[in-house]
């Protein structure tokens, strides 16, 4: 039997949906696991089989004593009772709401009751274990100044490449693009030595200052955008008496918000996520960034899986939120620059 084109494409789409759903589950499991571990007790984070929803045994206070709750069958009905005392295999249980209601039951027939409980306090605990506030301030300083530097310098350079003809300009542009292929290690050591000579080692400056000198990715992205803007508007502004600065400020920038915001988002995310440069340049803990702090958290408290995951969630949330709210721009930017992100 041959299926019609329409039926066949519907069948294909159905199969695609099945595969996508499976892929979706596979991709989401680690994230769910992360969130669930962040809300557990330390013990629950290290149990097998894994607990997907954090549950724990609870105690109730009955007549001034903390007692474990049990789920235990009484005359065929499972009830939630508190264990008062044990006498061999038999235990004395009471109804926690009405302590005069007592039962003598075999302890083995019940199980300790578990209730769902999210440990939101893990986040506070994780932030107290390390100077998270300090790390956050450092990271935000780098993010803020790094972004200002990148957006400002890349806008100027992209404008120069997009709108001005000069001898050697296209060669310089090729040179700029070729730096994308240059492994940063090639310049790493002399740059490190220079910053060290300047006394900038163990300060935030090596992570901020280079941003003011533009980078190939963002210049390329902005230039591609500027070139799509009609040149006639430049000419009109020039007739109205605008110079090159005026054209940039009154014509180019007002039309380029999508591209400028895209560059901003990339720069913020890059600075937030960066690990290599902070690792090399920042030595003392008071200068560390969130990324470094998280790594050291792992080194010091690897047995506290729940707090580690809580700290990770804190670091992951900002990028994920930015991504959600600026998705369209973000994806366009990734597509234009080919890979970044």
């Amino acid at each position: 039997m041959r299926l019609g084109i329409k039926a066949r494409s519907q069948l294909t789409r159905g199969c695609a949906l099945v595969v996508l759903t499976v892929g979706f589950i596979v991709v989401m499991i680690p994230l769910v696991w992360m969130a669930s571990s962040a809300l557990k007790t330390k013990e629950a984070a290290n149990t097998m089989p894994p607990q997907w929803i954090p549950k724990e045994q609870v105690k109730v206070n009955v007549d001034g004593k903390d007692l474990f709750l049990y789920d235990i069958p009484v005359e065929g009905v499972v009830r939630r009772l508190a264990l008062v005392s044990k006498d061999g295999p038999t235990g004395t249980f009471v109804n926690p709401d009405n302590p005069t209601e007592q039962y003598q039951l075999p302890v083995a027939s019940g199980v300790r009751a578990k209730v769902v409980r999210f440990h939101w306090d893990n986040f506070a605990a994780a932030m107290k274990t390390v100077p998270f506030g300090r790390y956050l301030v450092n990271t935000l300083t780098i993010v803020l100044f790094g972004t200002i530097g990148t957006v400002a310098s890349c806008t100027l350079v992209a404008y120069g490449f997009a709108r001005f003809r000069a001898p050697g300009m296209s060669v310089l542009f090729l040179l700029l693009l070729s730096t994308i292929m240059l492994p940063p290690q090639v310049t790493l050591i002399p740059t490190f030595i220079i910053f060290r000579q300047l006394g900038w080692y163990d300060t935030l400056l090596p992570l901020i200052v280079p941003a003011f000198f533009a980078n190939a990715w963002d210049v390329f992205l902005l230039r591609q955008f500027f070139m799509t803007l009609p040149i006639e508007l430049d000419d009109a502004a020039r007739i109205d008496g605008c110079g090159p600065w005026g054209i940039l400020w009154h014509v180019i920038i007002p039309q380029s918000w999508p591209a400028l915001i895209t560059v901003t988002i990339f720069t913020v995310l890059y600075a937030w996520n960066d690990f290599y440069a902070p690792l090399i340049y920042l030595q003392s803990q008071e200068h560390w960034t969130v990324a470094l702090g998280l790594q050291s958290f792992n080194a010091l408290y690897s047995n506290q899986g729940n707090l580690l995951m809580a700290a990770s969630v804190l670091m992951v949330l900002p990028p994920i939120l930015i991504f959600f709210f600026a998705q369209r721009l973000f994806i366009q930017g990734v597509v234009i620059s080919g890979i970044k992100g």
Binding site: L20, G160, Q185, I339
Partner: protein, 329 residues
């Protein structure tokens, strides 16, 4: 920012080299225009000299010296660093082997999965934005955090991966604690991020005109034939670009390995150097052993390797990359 620019993504330089204007101007004006042009690009020019060209030369010179940063000045030793690297440094060869092994497995796998996902989304399934967001999410996560998360997942005793394996009766390996399984673990982790490639492929796929498929259908081409003769040829520039970037990226692979191994018993690049990537070895030499001269030599060899690989891929691309508007013999 049109998605169509993707087709020129593989060789952006060739796309539009001339600025968007053509009117000739009198001499003095054009000289003034030049001056403004240089002025606007001067931040980059200055940065290029100070942070790229200068340090490149300096590192080339340093690579010919023995230089312990805590004990200057550098001593000139000619090509000794390079000779040592190629003849008597097993770590160098080992790190190359680790890096190339990872690249040979992870890059093709990532390419295949990323492309397959994009292809499925492009079948006009319902909810494309939803799927796109979900699959892309791991790619925006900080490497430190995702490495820590996967470290927990790979934990041989309490990790969920071995738990899933035990459900189907497999006794899972020690993953990051095992010499044989540490590298496969990193490859599995890298596949979690295939959404990054997927987005680019999806944009490329969406820019293929539907009329091409329609006329192919009229000619009786089946699904596979359409993929083989329309989709793949038109997508080769994008695939090609991701391949080049993937190779370069592997030689810079660092953060995940550092986070997962620096505090483990096997040490950075462990266990037993199973994850001693090229860049980890370079870091060790520069910032642990403080052999800045030797590390510079390693950096230059890395540069040459990346350059040669990129040129090879570019060279071979003539045979398999198809650019729109190109006449094929």
């Amino acid at each position: 920012m049109g998605v169509t620019q993707i087709s020129s993504g593989a060789r952006p330089a060739a796309a539009q080299l001339e600025p968007t204007r053509a009117r000739p101007r009198p001499g003095s004006l054009s000289r003034r225009e030049s001056r403004w042009g240089y002025l606007f690009i001067s931040p980059w020019l200055l940065g290029f000299v100070v942070f790229t060209a200068g340090p490149m030369l300096a590192s080339l010179v340093l690579s010919l010296t023995r230089y312990d940063i805590s004990n200057p000045p550098p001593t000139w030793i000619g090509l000794d660093n390079y000779i040592k690297m190629f003849t008597s440094d097993p770590k160098f060869w080992h790190s190359l082997r680790v890096t190339v092994t990872y690249a040979l497995v992870a890059i093709p796998l990532g390419l295949t999965f990323g492309f397959a996902l994009a292809y499925l989304l492009n079948l006009r399934v319902p909810g494309v934005p939803f799927w796109r967001t979900a699959f892309y999410m791991p790619a925006v996560m900080p490497a430190v955090a995702s490495a820590l998360l996967w470290g927990a997942i790979f934990n041989p005793r309490y990790g969920i991966l071995n738990w899933f394996l035990s459900l189907v009766g497999i006794h899972g390996p020690g993953w990051l604690a095992s010499r044989d399984w540490a590298l496969p673990a990193l490859i599995i982790m890298s596949l979690w991020g295939v959404g990054g490639g997927m987005i680019i492929y999806l944009a490329g796929l969406q820019s293929i005109p539907t009329t091409l498929y329609e006329s192919a259908q009229i000619d009786g081409a089946n699904g596979w034939q359409q993929v083989r003769h329309i989709t793949l040829p038109l997508m080769t520039p994008v695939i090609f670009f991701n391949l080049v970037i993937g190779i370069i990226g592997t030689f810079q692979y660092f953060t995940e390995v550092y986070v997962l191994t620096s505090t483990a018993s096997g040490g950075l690049g462990g266990p037993v150097d199973a994850t001693l990537f090229y860049n980890i070895n370079l870091y060790n030499n520069a910032f642990r052993y403080l052999n800045m001269g030797y590390a510079s030599a390693l950096a230059w060899v890395l540069f040459v390797i990346v350059l040669v690989l990129t040129l090879l891929v570019f060279r071979s691309s003539a045979a398999w990359v198809y650019y729109e508007g190109e006449v094929r013999r």
